[in-house]
């Protein structure tokens, strides 16, 4: 069997790739799976701080690739889940320090020991992106409901198809129901129709995400947070469970579901 490799990418920066990677990794670990997440954003690493593991780094991805340590030595064990690991990116090198075949080799080595490998891709369409998608079984494209993020997502989806790594699965992050209601934000339905790909989940904008990132404890651990629930649902869908899109008040349309909280 071996692990399934999930790559999280977006094209545009700042749409929530690292937040999504961290939350899906924690969610799958909380469901009892063995998970390794890997930061492939060499030179601009951040998955370590989002997971709250920045003080434990000894070795990184480039150290493994260049043979300065074994892969196990670069795997940082999470504070809460004993079978959740992080392989951090190197901070002082650039994307050319790793090749797509290095990424495939590392994942092959990890697969027998893991259930899930989740790779956080850098923004952009260059080497770092190619490294991140090379070993992927499934690619998740993160976007926000706004013009530049949707345009870049479309470009990335086209490149994923060109690399025969498709079909990509879409996550719409930071959807603001109040803005949608006012007519000042694209609806999830608009985004799905424009991009013409499968929708894996919608994560509503949630100010608690900022606080959870400040603390280095992913929001998915907060059962009261809408964003946390959305990430947990996405993790379960990845795992093959049929979980409907969150049902909030609306006009009976699954896409107009983010009305009022029902609590």
């Amino acid at each position: 069997m071996g692990a399934k490799v999930i790559t999280v990418t977006s094209g545009k920066g700042g749409v929530g790739k690292t937040t999504t990677t961290a939350n899906l990794a924690v969610a799958l670990a909380s469901l009892g799976y063995k998970v390794t997440c890997m930061d492939s954003d060499i030179g601009l690493r951040n998955l370590d701080v989002v997971l709250g593991l920045e003080n434990r780094i000894v070795y990184d991805l480039v150290d493994v690739v260049e043979g300065r340590c074994r892969i196990r030595q670069a795997m940082i064990k999470d504070k809460k889940f004993p079978e959740l690991y992080l392989i951090p990116a190197a901070q002082t090198r650039d994307k050319s320090a790793v090749s797509p075949s290095d990424m495939i080799r590392l994942c092959e080595e990890l697969k027998p020991e893991m259930d899930w490998i989740i790779i956080d891709s850098p923004a952009g369409i260059e080497r770092g992106f190619k490294n991140a998608i090379a070993p992927a079984d499934v690619i998740l494209v993160i976007t926000n409901p706004e013009v530049s993020a949707v345009r870049d997502a479309d470009r990335i989806i086209g490149l994923i198809e060109a690399e025969q790594k498709g079909p990509a699965h879409l996550i719409i992050n930071r959807l603001n129901p109040a803005l949608v209601k006012k007519g000042d934000m694209l609806t999830a339905e608009d985004v799905v129709n424009l991009l013409a790909v499968d929708l894996l989940g919608i994560v509503p904008e949630d100010e608690n995400v900022v606080a959870s990132t400040n603390r280095g404890t992913p929001i998915v651990l907060d059962a009261h947070s809408k964003a946390g629930q959305a990430f947990m649902n996405i993790a379960k869908r990845l795992n093959g469970e049929e979980i409907p899109l969150m049902n909030l008040e609306g006009k009976g349309n699954i896409f107009s579901i983010f009305g009022k909280r029902t609590k």
């Binding site: 345009r151 470009r155 006012k182 000042d184």
Partner: protein, 86 residues
């Protein structure tokens, strides 16, 4: 609030505008065909086709259409019926 005012003035919402702009941008991005080049291509096609048949230039249309993520160039050029002319 802006949504309410827009409705009163019968103005499209900013989300409507974003959707329409993105529809066009994505068509041109996917085909790597900027809007100006479509116009140039239309002129050139009309010139070539006019060498062989009489066409209604004013009604000639050329557009890129989507079917999922597939794209198709559609050209619609009405012919002028020659046997009805003296």
């Amino acid at each position: 609030m802006s949504g309410f005012v827009d409705k009163l003035l019968n103005k499209p919402s900013s989300a409507d505008t974003a959707r329409q702009r993105l529809q066009l941008v994505l068509i041109h991005d996917r085909a790597n065909l900027p809007p100006g080049q479509i116009d140039l291509m239309k002129e050139e096609l009309i010139r070539v086709i006019s060498k062989y048949v009489v066409i209604d230039r004013a009604k000639a249309e050329i557009a890129v259409e989507n079917e999922g993520r597939e794209q198709r160039l559609t050209i619609n050029i009405p012919l002028v019926a020659e046997n009805r002319r003296f």
